[in-house]
């Protein structure tokens, strides 16, 4: 159970005392943690616990109020930092896919490589096609997103992120908007990705996936990490009363 982590002990994400306020609402209350290269970290917690906000702070889709985040040793909570340079190395998959509806599937995948990395379209297309094959929607490359099922759209969204060759992938509840029969196909792709050694941070409610694929689990409640550990430690041997209570509610 759980994924063996081949750790060189250098954190790729290092978060120190991260706070986030939405006006007066204190959402993140001093989170300090790190994620190592090749890890698959799952974040669990009741709704409103700040899971998504935490994840979105890590690539500054939300501006942290205070604290420090280092990605690959580089501080990103700093207005002098060109955040786009950081973001191009971090893939992000959203709950409702957010594909660009005016572009075909292959154009969705090649947009960022061509316009951000400056890759030639031919090369980007070639890589894009390979990625689409890999996530199993190769034959839909010329279609528009509106003609695809939710599961297919989400897999295209994953391919779109992978096309930038990210160092880290963030998944923000990637299966929450999907019909049950489509969840599997997306989780399979994610499992595949985890096995390939990608560093992943996943906010999810898919216990099966979390149990099998993650190397570590953060349990968030009320804006702080109340417990972290490998799947075995969390699911079978939780130390905190609140973790047990949360798990008993969802299992």
């Amino acid at each position: 159970m759980g994924k063996a982590v081949e750790t060189d002990k250098q954190p790729i994400i290092q978060v120190t005392d991260l706070h986030k306020y939405f006006s007066t609402l204190h959402v993140l209350k001093g989170i300090t943690t790190e994620v190592y290269r090749g890890e698959v970290v799952s974040i669990m917690g009741p709704s409103g616990s700040g899971k998504s906000t935490f994840l979105r702070c890590l690539n500054r889709l939300e501006e942290p109020t205070s604290g420090s985040i280092k990605i690959d040793g580089e501080e990103i909570v700093d207005h002098k930092v060109d955040i786009n340079m950081i973001r191009r190395d971090i893939g992000m998959v959203f709950q409702d896919y957010n594909l660009f509806p005016h572009l075909s599937v292959i154009q969705n995948v090649t947009l960022a490589p061509v316009h951000v990395r400056g890759t030639k379209y031919k090369d980007a297309e070639e890589i894009g096609m390979k990625l689409l094959e890999r996530v199993g929607v190769g034959e839909k490359a010329k279609e528009f997103p509106s003609n695809l099922s939710g599961g297919q759209q989400q897999r295209v969204a994953i391919a779109r992120s992978l096309a930038m060759h990210p160092k880290i992938m963030f998944f923000d509840e990637p299966t929450s908007a999907l019909d049950p029969e489509m969840i599997r196909e997306v989780l399979d792709v994610m499992r595949d990705l985890a096995e390939s050694g990608m560093t992943m941070v996943v906010v999810s409610h898919e216990l099966g996936f979390i149990r099998e694929a993650s190397s570590r689990i953060f349990v968030l409640e009320n804006g702080s990490i109340i417990e972290e550990g490998d799947p075995d430690a969390i699911f079978n041997n939780a130390q905190q009363e609140r973790t047990k209570k949360f798990l008993s509610m969802i299992i």
Binding site: N59, L61, N84, M85, R87, R88, D89, I90, G91, M92, F94, D96, N98, L99, F100, P101, H102, L103, L111, A112, H115, V116, F144, P145, S146, R160, S161, M164
Partner: protein
Amino acid sequence: MLSTEIRQWGTRFGHLPWYRRYEFLFPALVVLLVAVGFFMPPEGRPEQFFDGATILLAFVSFLALVLIVITDREKPVLLKRAASLSLIALFFLLFYRYSGTQWDRVRHQFFNLQALEGVWPMYLTGLRFTLQLSVVAALASIGLGLVLGILRSLRNPVLELFIGFYIDFFRAMPLIVSMVVVFYALPFLGINLSAFWSAATSLILMNSAFQAEIFRAGIESIPKRQIEAAKALGLGPMKTMRLVVLPQATRIILPPLSNNLVSLVKDTAVAYVITYPELLTQARHAVIWKRNPTPLIFSMFIYLATLLPLTRYTRFLEKRSKRWVKR
């Protein structure tokens, strides 16, 4: 066969009230037409009460027939259209016969082809100037409107103050006033603009204000998560706007924008107050030259011929924008 067809009517239309059946409608129409043929008074404004009443009665009974047809759910659409059209035709026919208008004088005054002799080249020049002004004003106002719209969609309070004022001011300012001010008042400040550039400036100021709102609405209609997806891929704000937001906003922007352009072309006619030699100015010159208002009437047809394709295109865009609804 026809006879079986007719026999089936009894069952097919049996549920209709008597006045909605063809067995009533057709004879009624025939009776009406025959009666009209016999009893209608002679041409000219009716002198006696009886004559007026006959005309009115004929029209009202035909109106009743038409209303019966078009309010019936089961009558074919083609029949309903024919009925309404013939009602309109009847109205004009009655007006033609009984309004007492001296039609030959109308024709001489307003549709006098002789008064158009030598005017066509003037129309052509006028149309050229109108189109020149329209194209320059349209392109410039789209450019300015786009910039203002994007800036306004940023919701920066300081920009908002200035741009909001600009937009409100020039939307409220009557075009004719701003043209006169630019052409006749600005020279006192040392700014001398030709008639063309005065007209263009006024048109650009007003239309860019309207268009800024169109662009802003289009941009703001794009969901925030689209922008977040673009950001997460590392696209900067300019590229996000150019590659993700604007292409999607186009569908929403195009119909009202082309509407605005249609009215821009019409508004060039206001430039006649500052003697810009566009179509209306030419037509008015021709009216004075020929001492006959026909050239003015025909300039109307030229405006229509220019703008009808544009309004048609607008309608086409509106239909198309509803077609590929997202997701």
